[in-house]
Assembly symmetry: C2
Homo-oligomer: 234 residues x 2
């Protein structure tokens, strides 16, 4: 059955890139790219990613299997506008997705059809619509939220995300763009509960896959001294 | 050989408690405690923790072994002033530490000697001094940074931390007190590199132990298209 999934490489302190590029100079020289390069290095070292880009070499290891599995599981993608803007030119005529991509944007635009199975459809009526359009063409594979972080949060906030995989890279960045930031619209003493369904550990990255169980109130308990959890009074 | 270690239960988005209690009403009714209770529930369910508190029951499982190991490994503790203030009364005459505790504070105070091996010594000349005093009495066991989060960051920032274990609880809190927050004093394009040395996964919590390797510059790479990493130009 089709699931809506997202996966993101993050630092141990939860950043998927350095601080947002302010447009001054080249992105490649920015602190944003420096953080992004660090947390995604395990991907570019993986044979499965290199092969998809047409590069030789790379590691054929557990990390590469995680990448290969991600590519294979996605029947369609949903993508944020900023990620698309950054990728449109460098991805070229044969983008790595090889599946339909639905770009959430405010600017109407005709669909783009690329070689290798990738198309870009621009969706102007919101994230839920983009997810539905992706689901309609994903077959029995998954709808993968490609990113960026803002779109992942929108999908999570809207209750549309079934699975979130964090590739936790052993580095502390201290500052930058957080994947799970404050705009999740959680109420007072409310949380989003997850269940880890798979953990793969490697010296370069710890892959933690979570099933998203949904919103739940935060309860107090008796700190072990007696019976079960006690509900808070408000 | 004595290591300086810290361990903390955190949410998937990096919080060890809800938003800091503002003093209005009771702490137990606050959002801070609601978050704290959620991320530490696995501890209070663990037989090793309950046994140390004098409570019956609990789970005798991998999580309990992690707790037992933490107690056994600590020859002395370093603690923040706010954590001590919150614990002094509830810990009572037989606090759970059973080892010397060095409290980092600005307020001089005579040492307290409690039953069961716990003492509290108040250190007014800084975190490095507290770590050294703890090291001097830890024997061949570790100096454990008991918390809170602010003290863990101070020890990490000062380059004094050898090992950091994060007990990552599968919940998104959205807001609260972050363990790895922005006051780590990292330079532009600088990070703290870690190496995961042990990962234990359980449905309730993923335990990731990191060796702290220290500060390092963030480097760009060629994104897989050719040779090795390329240094940034600044």
């Amino acid at each position: 059955m089709t699931k809506v999934t997202a996966q993101m490489s993050v630092s141990a302190d939860g950043f998927y890139a350095g601080p947002l590029f302010d447009g001054d100079g080249d992105w490649i020289d920015s602190a944003e790219s420096a953080g992004f390069f660090r947390v995604t290095r395990w991907v570019t070292n993986a044979m499965a990613w290199r092969d998809r880009q047409g590069f030789a070499g790379g590691e054929r290891d557990a990390n590469s299997e995680v990448v290969a599995e991600s590519f294979a599981a996605a029947g369609a993608y949903v993508m944020g506008r900023r990620m698309f803007d950054g990728g449109e030119v460098p991805w070229g005529e044969v983008p790595p997705f090889r599946a339909p991509v639905f770009v959430v944007t405010h600017r109407p635009r005709q669909p783009l059809v690329r070689d290798g199975g990738t198309s870009f459809t621009f969706v102007t009526d919101g994230v839920a619509s983009a997810v539905e359009q992706a689901r309609a063409v994903a077959g029995d594979r998954n709808v993968a939220v490609a990113g960026g972080g803002s779109l992942v949060r929108q999908v999570l906030r809207a209750g549309l995300l079934d699975e979130l995989e964090l590739h936790v890279v052993p580095v502390v960045l201290g500052t930058g763009s957080r994947l799970l930031d404050a705009d999740l619209d959680l109420g007072d003493k409310e949380a989003i509960e997850l269940t880890p369904t798979r953990v793969i550990s490697d010296p370069e990255v710890t892959h933690i896959r979570y099933a998203v169980r949904g919103r739940a109130p935060l309860l107090l308990d008796d700190r072990g001294s007696g019976g079960g959890p006690t509900a808070t009074t408000n």
